[in-house]
């Protein structure tokens, strides 16, 4: 056996150890940078679509609508009605009158109708933000050549109309109001189902359940369920909520059926399906938060003669609350972005009426984006980009809320 002397026993390898460390350091840094690049690319492509030049062609030049030298903006209501009658088909005019008599409509309303149906501006071509900035001259030349009647304007597709208008088959009129309301309704139902069930299950598993094979089996299954593809949850929701529980989810049981649907493809079904989807996430996060409450606190509580429930209610839950809320909000932000299960559960692709309650048919923001990107008109792609920004903002808000709640409620243990 080699003798171990003070000098011979250790290899002189410090430079080599440092080099190895340096290599790993660089690798970790590189992976972070790659991640940032991809995220920036995503943000770039969304923003690139949201803003840009649009060539707009009017069906009728507004100048041509002037009556006796008075431009169309300044015409009286009666004159506008006359303009409308002159330019649209008799059938359409009768429909307007039928929907709401002109006598009852304000001048603004009639003006909007004239603008929509007579002037009827259409985007004939759109350009991305990048092109709009760096190839402005070429775009202007092309517009002058191909669309001599068109005017070129810079447009943010993310505007008030996008937020306030409902779905429409005309991209100039389309907005995401129904989708935002649908998303909010759905998420409300999701939280109402998943939060109590998830936290309840977590409390049971952590504080009450005996440590036996059944509990371990349950635990393994919950962990696996968190990884099941969301489309599977969609199928489950379709089978259970939409079909088997139709009486409940359509509202028939309460005599509250929405006249527009009267089947199980409602906000309630969608919300409960998403609730199931994030249930394992909430359970796992809540369990971890509960497990992180020091046993010393439980013992202190028991040592004073507290019952198990008093210990859980006064010490375990308050101290686990920040973790539970964070986990819930992260689950909810995942649910907000889900599309696949809702397609299966039966999200409507075209809903122009605001949802009125849990029994209404629904569409959500991601569904709207999905559906718009599949449309042939280019403008819908721009609208979709605007909707994506709203969706991202919604998710960022939720995550920020999670951070705030965690900081506010986390207490020193």
């Amino acid at each position: 056996m080699k003798s171990i002397s003070a000098n011979g026993a250790f290899e002189e390898n410090i430079p080599q150890r440092r080099r190895t460390g340096q290599i790993w350091h660089t690798l970790f840094q590189a992976s972070t940078i790659v991640g940032i690049i991809f995220l920036s690319a995503l943000l770039y492509s969304v923003l690139n679509q949201t803003f840009g030049l649009v060539a707009i062609e009017n069906q009728v030049d507004p100048a041509a609508l002037a009556v006796g030298g008075v431009s169309v903006e300044e015409l009286s209501k009666e004159q506008l009605v006359a303009v409308l009658q002159e330019h649209v088909s008799k059938g359409l005019f009768r429909r307007f009158e039928y929907d709401r008599p002109f006598a009852q409509r304000s001048r603004e309303e009639v003006y909007r109708l004239v603008w929509q149906h007579v002037v009827a501006p259409q985007a004939v071509e759109t350009w991305s933000l990048y092109e709009s900035i760096f190839a402005r001259d070429e775009i202007e030349a092309a517009v002058a050549e191909e669309f001599p009647d068109a005017t070129l304007q810079f447009r943010s597709w993310l505007n008030r109309r996008l937020l306030t208008a409902s779905q429409s088959s005309d991209p100039e009129q389309a907005g995401i109001r129904t989708a935002i309301l649908g998303s909010l309704w759905t998420i409300a139902i999701t939280i109402l189902t998943a939060f109590p069930l998830g936290v309840g299950a977590a409390i049971y598993l952590e504080e009450y359940a005996p440590d036996n094979w059944l509990t371990r089996l349950l635990q393994t299954n919950i962990n696996n369920l968190a990884g099941v593809p969301s489309i599977i949850y969609g199928l489950l929701g379709l089978a259970i909520f939409v079909r088997a529980l139709e009486v409940l989810t359509s509202g028939a049981m309460f005599g509250a059926t929405d006249p527009t649907t009267a089947n199980g493809r409602t906000i309630l079904s969608a919300g409960m399906t998403l609730g199931l989807l994030i249930l394992p996430l909430i359970i796992i996060n809540a369990q971890e938060a509960i497990r992180a409450v020091p046993d010393a606190l439980r013992r202190a509580s028991y040592g004073l003669g507290a019952t198990q429930w008093q210990t859980i209610w006064w010490h375990v839950l308050p101290n686990a609350l920040p973790g539970i809320l964070t986990g819930t909000i992260l689950g909810v932000s995942r649910a907000i972005g889900e599309t696949a299960p809702l397609v299966v559960v039966g999200a409507s692709t075209f809903v122009a009426i605001d949802p009125r309650g849990p029994f209404s048919k629904f569409t959500t923001l991601p569904i709207q984006v999905f559906q718009w990107t599949a449309r042939p008109q280019d403008e819908y792609r721009n609208l979709a980009a605007g909707a994506i920004i709203i969706l991202l903002l919604l998710i960022i808000t939720l995550n920020a809320l999670a951070v705030v709640l965690r900081n506010r409620y986390s207490r020193r243990l």
Partner: protein, 264 residues
């Protein structure tokens, strides 16, 4: 445990362990302990690590049941009744036999709430402010915290936290206080304060203290129980007697070797 059972046999003992064995699953941690704790005295339990001192202490108020797989065999007599009887509620036992832990563990609540909470959940009907003040005075903490009762208890120093835990324990008016190495996480000054406090508390309460520190046992206790473990690593009671006898004239050779520091 109804009031009618109080002192059916008053033999001067607060707690009596009779043939008490404690198991963790199949492992016997403590073997057939017979130990009678005298009322209004401080009884120290000493012994080498792993000899089951803390296990015995925890079995005196059924706190060992919080450890999965733990179970006790034999009897622990408190007020003439075996606390392990099926009709005895451990919640009631733990209010009457309180516990102070090795690491100070105040609730992450205000100092006031730390004291008031235990009393409130146990249905205390009296004046809460008075109870809080009395408990803090009894725990020699009042003067240090009287101006900051609404501040969080976990912000106090280690020694203050431990006295807060003692105040919290006496607020539910127990008869016995079990202390599991209450000063081992504290500096010598804080330790001294706890020891002085114990001397005052024994007038009202019976105190059982587990300690690693033999000087501490010699300083504070009236009786000392020395535990060892046998070949199967099960703890057993080697010797039990008045503290000065244990430390000056032990009857058992192992006790002598342990207190003189020759092993353990």
């Amino acid at each position: 445990m109804s009031e009618s059972n109080i002192r059916v046999e008053d033999n001067g003992y607060a707690i009596e362990a009779r043939d008490l064995s404690i198991y963790y699953g199949d492992f016997r941690a403590v073997e057939r302990v017979n130990l009678a704790i005298r009322r209004n005295e401080i009884t120290a339990i000493i012994g080498p690590s792993g000899c089951g001192k803390s296990t015995v202490l925890r079995s005196f108020n059924r706190m060992n049941e919080l450890y999965p797989t733990a179970c006790a065999e034999g009897e622990v007599i408190f007020r003439g009744e075996n606390i392990y009887d099926p009709d005895v509620d451990p919640v009631e036992v733990r209010r009457r036999i309180g516990m102070v832990f090795q690491k100070p563990n105040p609730f992450p609540k205000s100092i006031y709430e730390n004291i008031a909470w235990g009393a409130r959940i146990n249905g205390f009907q009296g004046n809460m402010d008075e109870l809080v003040e009395r408990s803090l005075r009894d725990a020699a903490l009042w003067d240090e915290v009287k101006d900051k009762l609404q501040e969080i208890g976990t912000a106090l120093s280690g020694g203050q936290q431990q006295r807060l835990c003692i105040a919290r324990t006496i607020a539910v008016q127990p008869e016995v206080i079990l202390m599991d190495e209450p000063a081992s996480a504290l500096d010598p000054v804080a330790t001294l304060k706890i020891e002085e406090l114990m001397q005052r508390l024994k007038k009202k309460y019976t105190i059982v203290i587990v300690t690693h520190n033999m000087q501490q046992a010699a300083r504070v206790s009236d009786h000392t129980a020395f535990f060892m473990m046998n070949e199967d690593r099960a703890g057993y009671l080697v010797e039990y007697g008045p503290t000065n006898q244990i430390f000056t004239n032990p009857q058992n050779e192992m006790t002598e070797r342990y207190i003189t520091g020759r092993f353990g």
